[in-house]
C-alpha cells in the first residue's frame, strides 16, 4: 500500500519536471479552480485602487502610442497587412499566484472555453509573466518566469544580441539573462525585451532593466541580473497572446529539421 502510493506520487513529481507532458494534477480543474475563483473574488477588493491606477497608467501609455502613430506619415508600411492579423490578445484575472517556491505556477480564470490554449504567452500591463502550461474548460495555469523550468528568449532593447531568461530562485523580482555574447554592448540600466525568436511572444515585450552583470575572464558569454518591471508578487490582470502563425512557423521548421536528418 505504502509502496504503491509512494511510487505513484514520485512518478507524478517526475512528470511535472518536464513541461510538455500534460498534467493530471493541476489547479486548473473544476474544484480547485472554483475555490480559487471565490477566494480571489473576495480578496481582490483589497487591491482595487492600486489595480485601477495600474490600468490607468497603461491606458495613458497606450493613448500616447496611438497619438504618436497618428502623427506618422500615412504611407502604409509594406507589410502592414501582416501585422494586425498575426497576434491576438485575451485578458484574464489571476486567481492564484505563487512566487516563493522554486517552480511557481499562476492560475487564471480563463480556460479552453475562452480559446486559451497551451503554449500561449502571458504578459501583464508592465511586462512578461509566463507561458500557459495547462488548461481546463474554465481555468488555466501559467508557468511563471519564476520557475526553474522556464527558459524564454530575450534580447537587449538597443541591439539584437539575445540570451535565455532563467531564474535562480533567489529573489522574486530579479531574473537572470544568460548566454549573452561577449560582443554585446551591456550597460547597467539598459532595458531587456523579448526577442521574438520563439513562436510564443512577439518581439519587444518589456521584461526589465539590467541590475548588474558578470563575465568570467575567458568566457564568451555574459550573465546578467535583470530587475523586472513587473512586481511578480502582485499580479491581478494579465493578457494572453496567441500567435496565429505559430503553427505555420513550427511546421516549416520541422520540415527543415526532418529534411536534414
Amino acid at each position: 500500500m505504502f509502496g504503491v502510493l509512494f511510487v505513484f506520487s514520485i512518478g507524478l513529481t517526475v512528470r511535472t519536471h518536464s513541461f510538455h507532458k500534460s498534467k493530471f494534477v493541476s489547479s486548473a480543474n473544476m474544484i480547485s479552480g472554483n475555490i480559487y475563483a471565490v477566494k480571489s473574488e473576495i480578496t481582490d477588493y483589497f487591491g482595487l485602487q492600486k489595480e485601477n491606477e495600474k490600468l490607468l497608467n497603461e491606458n495613458i501609455r497606450l493613448r500616447k502610442l496611438v497619438e504618436s502613430y497618428k502623427e506618422l506619415t500615412p504611407i502604409p508600411p509594406l507589410d502592414s497587412v501582416a501585422i494586425p492579423s498575426s497576434f491576438v490578445f485575451y485578458s484574464a484575472r489571476v486567481i492564484n499566484n505563487n512566487y516563493s517556491k522554486t517552480k511557481n505556477n499562476i492560475t487564471i480564470n480563463k480556460g479552453a472555453g475562452d480559446s486559451i490554449a497551451i503554449d500561449m504567452g502571458v504578459i501583464s500591463s508592465k511586462g512578461l509573466v509566463g507561458i500557459i502550461n495547462s488548461v481546463s474548460q474554465n481555468y488555466a495555469t501559467v508557468q511563471s518566469i519564476l520557475n526553474t523550468k522556464s527558459q524564454i528568449n530575450a534580447k537587449l532593447k538597443n541591439s539584437e544580441h539575445f540570451g535565455s531568461l532563467v531564474w535562480d530562485t533567489k529573489d522574486p523580482n530579479v531574473v537572470q539573462l544568460i548566454d549573452v555574447p561577449r560582443l554585446a554592448p551591456v550597460v547597467v540600466g539598459d532595458t531587456i525585451v523579448t526577442g521574438g525568436k520563439s513562436t510564443i511572444f512577439p518581439k519587444g515585450i518589456l521584461i526589465g532593466t539590467i541590475k548588474d552583470f558578470s563575465i568570467e575572464a575567458d568566457a564568451n558569454y555574459y550573465d546578467l541580473n535583470i530587475q523586472l518591471f513587473n512586481d511578480m508578487t502582485n499580479l491581478k490582470h494579465v493578457y494572453m497572446i496567441k500567435n496565429n502563425r505559430a503553427e505555420e512557423i513550427i511546421t516549416l521548421e520541422k520540415q527543415i529539421e526532418d529534411a536534414e536528418q
Binding site: L5, F6, F8, T13, S26, T102
Partner: protein, 169 residues
C-alpha cells in the same frame, strides 16, 4: 471508529486543506517561509487507528494540496512517507507506553510530544523540499527551507493543538 469520529476526521481534513491552500500557502514570511500545517491531520490521527487507512488518507490529503499548489506529487509523497513511518516515530518518542496503547496526545509530557511533532515535521519538510527542488546543487536551499519552514510549522501546530485540545476530564 465511531460515527462521530469519522465525521470529525472528514471535517478536519477539509478544514486543514482550505486553511493550507487559501491562507498558509500565501504567508511567504521573509520571502520563502511557509508553514505546512496540514501534517497535523497525520499527527493527530487516532494513534490506534487503522494504518492502511491512514496511509490512504494521507495520500488523499497530499494529492489535494498538490492539486491546489500545482506541485505534481511532492506533498502526496511526503505525506504518505510520514504516515508510513509514524508508528516507528511513535515508538521512538513515547517508548513503551505506546506499545500498551496508553498514549493520549494531550496527556503525555511536553518533551515527548514535542519530539514526536518535530521529528515528523522535519522528515516531512525535508522530503517535500528535496522533491520540489530536485537538485543536489541546491542542497543548502533545501536544508534552509526545511529548517525555517519546520520551525514555523511546529509553532503553528503547537498553537492549534493548544487551541483545540479538549479539556482533560
Amino acid at each position: 471508529m465511531q460515527n462521530s469520529d469519522i465525521l470529525i476526521t472528514i471535517l478536519r481534513f477539509i478544514t486543514l486543506v482550505l486553511l493550507q491552500v487559501l491562507i498558509l500557502n500565501h504567508i511567504n514570511f521573509m520571502g520563502f517561509v511557509n508553514p505546512y500545517v496540514y501534517v497535523l491531520f497525520i499527527l493527530i490521527f487516532p494513534l490506534n487507528g487503522n494504518k492502511s487507512l491512514l496511509i490512504f488518507l494521507s495520500f488523499l490529503l497530499g494529492i489535494t494540496i498538490d492539486i491546489f499548489s500545482d506541485s505534481g506529487g511532492v506533498h502526496a509523497a511526503a505525506s504518505v512517507f510520514i504516515a508510513f513511518i509514524r508508528p516507528y516515530i511513535l515508538k521512538f518518542a513515547f517508548g513503551v507506553s505506546y506499545e500498551y496503547n496508553m498514549v493520549k496526545l494531550n496527556k503525555v509530557p511536553f518533551t515527548e510530544r514535542m519530539t514526536y511533532i518535530v521529528v515528523l515535521v522535519l522528515v516531512h519538510h525535508f522530503l517535500l523540499f528535496s522533491l520540489e527542488i530536485f537538485s543536489l546543487s541546491h542542497i543548502l536551499l533545501i536544508l534552509k527551507s526545511t529548517l525555517f519552514s519546520g520551525i514555523f510549522s511546529t509553532v503553528v501546530i503547537l498553537c492549534l493543538l493548544l487551541l483545540f485540545s479538549r479539556k482533560s476530564s
